[in-house]
């Protein structure tokens, strides 16, 4: 009688079909999103954050096209493709790239689209334009990789959970003693040895601050010392670069190659890699050594390598962010796979809603459900208070703070305006600001966050480079940046203010999180996103000693209709009940609260 709820029709499909359906829905979803955007009136596009209205051209400043606009609530990021026109005729609009917005000066800067430099740019000074989101285009298909993977019986069995894990016992013993000699802790040694000794696959789950990337580097260096040719794959350039730089620290002489590295990622990151002796090559023309080399790239680069290019191992970093189909091109290049990640941190980015949620899972979560993994259980980042909250909420109490970090405390000089909030006796504090703002922005929270940061810097002497401000929505990030600019803090540029996606992998002494959504209706619709456990885990666990969560009580009131979203909402209420609360509603909200 006890049967698990089936996705009835899903059960009729093979995993291959489900993955193909996932890809088709993703592609279709993205296409439809843009098609529908082009059918909406301007106000709706503005409300949704996909448009900037009434941008007046003032002239050029070097490569930048400068506009003034009093309101910019858009979700645009630097580099996003935009179209500039009358807001009615998208085909006639000029393709440009979003550069920056200075809220203090109401100044918007756009640049030429690097892929479309011949765009019309005869903007008239003083004229008002509408800036709209534009499609990326040119999205590659991963369907071929899915079909290839399932035509390959060894890989098919692994993906379908029908593979039996085996390891080379002799290699396991040798790896243990080697890794012990590298000063790793016992959980790291066990996980690393299992990875080195596996005959097929191994999963290493690395919660925040547990040295996952350091262990990856040690494992890769150990394998390369035995003449292995390693493929290193991640979803983002940032993750690929971090892993490469970590390997360089451990293996100064090892040959490191990044495919697609001469065009992808930021110019600063490319310079860092070059300084570290990483060779940046074009994937299609790369001449790769046969042994003792690490060939790294994002998941989109591996299909471009020559067809017969194979590796002894494929190593994935941040595998919790990699959708299953995206892992397959790199998996097809070897018969042994090592996955480093954490399915309790950021999930893969998907653009459509998928009822078949397992097909939309990450490769790490998918394989972890079937084969389990090794948990790194000691964090060297968080102090006792932050670690306890994160551990109990997201890791079933299995994560512990290392002795070196357990008693760390935030600098504190009594006598500030927000002493109750910043008292180091409470590592995690909820600043309650009961606004009801609809949409993706809250001025109330922005002001509260700016005051907390200003107090941290001026009263308690925390350097701006040691503070991060995180919000779930880009529109709120813009508002926070503007509010912080008004504080005129020294070294303001060193203060990170961004969404949680942009800050994964980083750490700071203090983290201030703005939960933003205050309208119960909005909170209900968006709770799966803004209250998402993985995202909150990442946000909270960036901190070494202090987390300040600024949020409206109404944020937690949502009762979503979807059972998974309801579970998320419930777990968030649990989290709320564990926090020390300081109610500053009267200070930051008007009569609406």
């Amino acid at each position: 009688m006890r049967r698990r709820r089936p996705l009835r029709r899903t059960l009729e499909l093979t995993l291959e079909q489900r993955l193909l359906r996932f890809l088709a829905r993703e592609e279709e979803g993205e296409r439809q999103t843009h098609r529908e955007l082009r059918a909406q009136p301007i106000d709706l596009r503005v409300i949704d954050g996909d448009c900037i209205h009434d941008a007046r051209f003032t002239g050029r400043d070097g490569s930048a096209f400068v506009f003034t606009c009093s309101e910019n609530h858009s979700k645009f990021r630097t580099g996003d493709p935009v179209a500039v026109g009358d807001g009615q005729d998208f085909d006639a609009a000029s393709p440009m790239a979003y550069a920056a917005y200075d809220a203090g000066r109401s100044e918007l800067r756009l640049e030429l689209d690097p892929y479309n430099r011949s765009a019309r740019t005869d903007f008239v000074v003083g004229c008002a334009y509408v800036v709209d989101r534009r499609e990326f285009g040119g999205r590659g298909s991963l369907a071929v990789a899915v079909r290839d993977a399932f035509a390959f019986p060894w890989l098919k069995n692994v993906l379908e959970g029908r593979h039996e894990l085996t390891c080379d016992e002799a290699r396991l013993l040798r790896a243990r003693s080697f890794l012990l000699s590298r000063g790793l802790n016992s959980a790291q040694v066990e996980a690393g040895a299992a990875a080195i000794a596996t005959e097929s696959l191994a999963l290493v789950q690395g919660p925040p601050g547990t040295g996952k990337t350091k262990l990856l580097a040690e494992v890769v260096a150990a394998l390369c010392s035995r003449k292995c040719r390693i493929a290193l794959c991640a979803f983002t350039h940032n993750a690929v670069d971090n892993a490469l730089l970590a390997i360089r620290k451990v293996a100064p002489e090892l040959e490191l190659v990044k495919v697609g590295g001469n065009s992808g990622g930021s110019s600063e990151a490319r310079a860092d890699l070059s300084r570290a002796g990483v060779r940046l090559v074009d994937a299609k023309r790369a001449m790769l050594p046969a042994e003792s080399v690490v060939v790294a790239g994002t998941c989109y680069q591996f299909p471009k390598l020559q067809e017969d290019t194979a590796f002894h191992y494929t190593v994935f970093d941040e595998a919790g962010q990699l959708p299953i189909p995206h892992a397959l091109p790199a998996m097809l290049r070897s018969k042994r796979w090592l996955f480093f990640g954490d399915h309790r941190q950021l999930p893969p980015v998907v653009t459509s809603e998928h009822r078949d949620r397992e097909a939309a899972d990450s490769i790490f979560a998918h394989l972890h459900r079937r084969y389990g993994g090794h948990l790194l259980d000691t964090t060297y980042r968080m102090n006792e208070g932050v670690c306890r909250l994160v551990s109990e909420t997201y890791y079933d109490g299995l994560l512990h703070a290392a002795p070196s970090s357990i008693d760390r405390r935030l600098p504190f000089v009594p006598g500030g305006r927000l002493d109750e909030v910043l008292d180091p006796a409470h590592s995690v504090v909820w600043v309650r600001v009961d606004h009801r703002q609809p949409g993706s922005r809250s001025h109330e929270e922005a002001h509260a966050v700016a005051d907390v940061v200003a107090d941290l810097v001026r009263q308690h002497g925390v350097p701006t480079r040691e503070i991060a401000v995180i919000a779930p929505f880009r529109a709120q990030v813009q508002l926070l940046r503007a509010a912080l600019d008004q504080k005129e803090l020294q070294n303001r540029a060193e203060l990170v203010v961004d969404t949680v996606e942009r800050i994964q992998g980083q750490e700071r002494e203090a983290v201030v999180v703005s939960l933003t959504a205050g309208d119960p209706d909005e909170a209900r619709g968006r709770s799966a996103f803004h209250l998402n456990e993985n995202r909150l885990n990442v946000a909270l666990s960036r901190a070494r000693t202090k987390v300040v969560l600024v949020a409206s009580a109404h944020s937690f009131e949502a009762i979503p209709g979807d059972v998974d979203a309801l579970r998320t909402a419930s777990r968030c209420r649990e989290l709320r009940d564990r926090l020390t609360m300081v109610d500053l509603t009267k200070l930051y909200c008007g009569p609406v609260a």
Partner: protein, 458 residues
């Protein structure tokens, strides 16, 4: 004060006002059920009886509505350790739970070496949040009785499968909802009405809707949210009439986005004018143009998971161009749709309403014929209409849109909920065809009068 029951929990998840009225007003004041609502409820009861009959479950015996005696009889059965208990009575402070089933499981408790977990029988195909909350309400009552929180609970779905879940995952939200309900039981006035999806079919609609209309409540404005209403009211804008004349920019309204204020103000004006305001939108060219589109519509029986009728109109507006197919079973649904689509040129956009068609397609396309190109032609008319115009009232359903934009009775060929009833009647096919044709005509007229119309002059 009335006892809080699982039904109140279920109601609260939909609307706090619904729960407050359920708790404070006599049942006799509720709207009488329509026959199709009775029909659906009977199917639910029959399914539960059918399911329970397979379990040899024991039912506590007690005089009707004497819940104290029922609770005592239930406790006796719990102590005896019978494998299944049907319609147990669980009593707590001001709370009463009547779960469909309790199942005995191993593990010590105040009852002995065993304890129980809750199962509730539902007629839906997928578990929903409100159902989980209801089961959790029963679970907490059961935990007090047996001195142990069961690790699991479950919902039985319409195909007899079990949606099990960990009770720990939902405890915090259940505690909060119970707390809110206790406050509402003491002070029902805490819950103000708010016009939302589902109000039309609510049994208190005769109560709330006139109240909202009399007050000119802001929730009568399309696009309003609870948060926006609170902010507007706090700034002295309390009625639809106030909002329609509101002249300040967004910044004075607790910094509500000015684009949102503009849109809400236009919606308030549309309500006062009792006509939609058509908005200027980007020009749709080439493949984005809907000039050559077809309409595709379906009537379903959600309980049976069946499509009862597919209808297609091409060209739009041509009543002779409407074709209807009535699939005899799930197995023939795909071929029925294919037959209809053969009448429509390849590549023509297919205008449908809401998510019923894409959902049906997703469930079928990959297990039958992988015609993935078809999904690329779907265009949601509801979404387009909402973007194209500000309607005089929040339009949640096709019926709402037809009423407020076409001033026509949307139920002239019957209510969509009747479709499942008709399928079992001798002349049901004619009614299904008539309803499908009426809906398609409404969709075509909505397209013509809203999507194809010139923007309303400012």
């Amino acid at each position: 004060m009335r006892r809080i029951t699982g039904t109140h929990v279920y109601s609260y998840a939909k609307c706090p006002r619904l729960a407050a009225l359920d708790l404070s007003l006599p049942k006799s004041e509720r709207r009488v059920w329509h026959p199709w609502e009775e029909f659906a409820a009977k199917r639910g009861r029959d399914f539960e009886d059918e399911f329970v009959a397979t379990l040899a479950a024991v039912q506590p015996e007690y005089p009707a509505r004497d819940f104290d005696r029922g609770a005592a009889a239930t406790l006796e059965l719990l102590k005896q350790g019978v494998p299944w208990i049907h319609q147990a009575v669980l009593l707590g402070d001001q709370r009463l739970g009547l779960p469909d089933l309790l199942r005995k499981v191993d593990g010590p408790s105040k009852l002995g070496s065993h304890h129980y977990e809750v199962l509730d029988v539902k007629t839906s195909g997928l578990a929903r949040g409100d159902q989980v909350l209801q089961v959790m309400f029963y679970t907490r009552l059961l935990a007090e009785l047996q001195g142990r929180m069961p690790e699991r609970a479950a919902i039985i779905l319409k195909d007899g499968s079990e949606h099990g879940f960990a009770t720990a995952d939902y405890l915090a939200v259940t505690r909060d909802v119970e707390g809110a309900l206790l406050r509402l039981a003491a002070h029902p006035d805490l819950a103000r009405p708010f016009l939302q999806r589902g109000c039309e079919s609510c049994h208190w609609s005769d109560h709330c809707l006139p109240e909202l209309t009399a007050k000119g409540d802001l929730s009568l404005v399309a696009g309003m949210s609870h948060g926006a209403r609170a902010i507007l009211e706090a700034n002295g804008c309390r009625t639809v009439a106030d909002l329609a004349e509101f002249s300040n920019d967004g910044r004075s309204l607790s910094q509500l986005d000015s684009a949102l204020v503009r849109r809400l103000r236009k919606a308030a004006q549309a309500r006062l004018a009792a006509a939609p305001t058509v908005e200027a939108r980007p020009r749709q060219k080439g493949s984005l143009s809907l000039d050559r589109a077809a309409i595709i519509h379906l009537l379903t029986d959600p309980y049976a998971g069946r499509v009862l009728a597919f209808a297609v109109q091409h060209p739009i507006g041509d009543d002779n161009g409407i074709a209807v197919e009535l699939p005899a079973s799930v197995a023939t649904e795909w071929s029925a749709l294919k037959a209809l689509l053969a009448r429509v040129p390849t590549g023509v956009p297919l205008l449908h309403f809401d998510s019923a068609l894409p959902r049906w397609y997703e469930a079928h396309a990959f297990s039958r014929e992988a015609d993935t190109g078809l999904a690329a032609r779907f265009v949601d008319l509801q979404r387009r209409l909402r973007a194209a115009a500000l309607f005089p009232e929040p339009a949640f359903t096709l019926a709402d849109l037809v009423r407020c934009a076409l001033s026509r009775d949307p139920l002239r060929a019957g209510h969509w909920g009747q479709a499942a009833m008709w399928a079992a009647e001798a002349d049901g096919a004619d009614k299904l065809v008539a309803k499908a044709r009426a809906d398609v005509q409404d969709l075509a007229d909505l397209k013509r009068r809203v999507l194809d119309a010139a923007p309303t002059p400012a």
